[in-house]
């Protein structure tokens, strides 16, 4: 037999998600949620940090081979994708602002635009991966990277084994980043649905804010991936 006061409390919480009973005020509740998200993002920093660390070590060891391998990637596609992600970050902050100020149309439009830009990013990424598959630059049995000159060292050629390490890091890092984008798209689909149902108010818009934090973090990871993977030793 459930306690009737507990049931009553639970019902009240469902009706007022803006203030759960164990928080003093809505501000404290919002701070607690965003603090939790920041702690999660700190673990994500360490997660990607390990990969960046591996990248730095091998870039240091196989400096020229990495330069040669990086040059084979289309930097224009990478730059376009950076711009696409930055635009999506703008639509995310607009969505958060719209939720705070109860602008329903702007909120829905910003969330939809964010998803469109996210899909555009993944589309461009797919084109890039397709190129790499066709050029046999995917690590594995059919990998081939023969007679590629090392930038700045005429007459020297990249070691295919070392170049393969670059492409392994390229696929793992961009692949994990793309996986984060796909998760982000899922979150934004749900946010769009909840916003459509009118669940967000100026008092309660925590999910939009938290989802936004996640999206911006994924953007920051890309801001570093872009120069490290696409732009090393580009100059003639």
């Amino acid at each position: 037999m459930p306690d009737s006061t507990a049931v009553g409390l639970e019902r009240e919480e469902q009706q007022r998600p803006e203030l759960l009973h164990h928080f003093a005020d809505p501000q404290q509740q919002r701070d607690a949620s965003s603090l939790g998200m920041w702690v999660f993002l700190a673990t994500e920093v360490m997660f990607f940090g390990g990969l960046f660390c591996a990248y730095l070590i091998y870039r240091h060891w196989y400096f020229g081979d990495f330069g040669a391998a990086s040059k084979s990637i289309d930097a224009t596609l990478g730059a376009t994708n950076t711009a696409v992600l930055i635009c999506s970050s703008l639509t995310v902050v607009l969505a958060v602002w719209a939720a705070q100020t109860a602008r329903r149309t702007l909120l829905l439009a910003s969330l939809a635009l964010t998803m469109i830009l996210g899909l555009a990013f993944l589309g461009i990424k797919a084109v890039e991966y397709k190129d790499k598959f066709e050029e046999h630059h995917v690590p594995g049995a059919s990998f081939s990277f023969d007679n590629v000159p090392i930038p700045g060292h005429p007459g020297e050629y990249a070691n295919p084994r070392h170049a393969q390490i670059f492409f392994s890091l390229y696929f793992v890092m961009t692949g994990l980043h793309a996986l984060h984008m796909i998760v982000g798209l899922g979150i934004f689909c749900w946010l769009f649905y909840a916003a459509w149902k009118g669940r967000f108010t100026p008092e309660y818009h925590t999910p939009v804010e938290i989802g936004g934090l996640y999206w911006h973090f994924v953007d920051i990871v890309w801001i570093y991936l872009f120069p490290l993977l696409y732009l090393i030793d580009r100059h003639p």
Binding site: L35, C53, A79, P227
Partner: protein
């Protein structure tokens, strides 16, 4: 405000892209990573509202995450970069 940051981020991307094709020696990497750090800082401070975070704990988490990342990268590289025998 948000639009200013957005324009700054796009300009930063354009400069990074163009600078990569100019011969700068070791400064290519410094310029690229320097601009990336400025961009990441802008996103964290203004888009993620870390600058106006009402809770000091949030700022502490951000600083702690950066500290441990730098510890990981910095100490690893001081090892690998000073191994002439390998």
């Amino acid at each position: 405000m948000y639009f200013t940051i957005w324009v700054a981020l796009l300009v930063g991307t354009y400069i990074t892209y163009k600078a990569a094709f100019i011969e700068l020696g070791p400064f290519n990497a410094i310029v690229a990573l320097g601009i990336a750090t400025i961009k990441a800082t802008l996103v964290a401070l203004f888009f993620m509202h870390a600058w106006h975070a009402s809770e000091k704990l949030t700022k502490l988490v951000v600083i702690a995450a950066l500290f441990f990342l730098l510890l990981l990268l910095g100490l690893t590289m001081t090892d690998y970069a000073t191994r002439p025998w390998s």
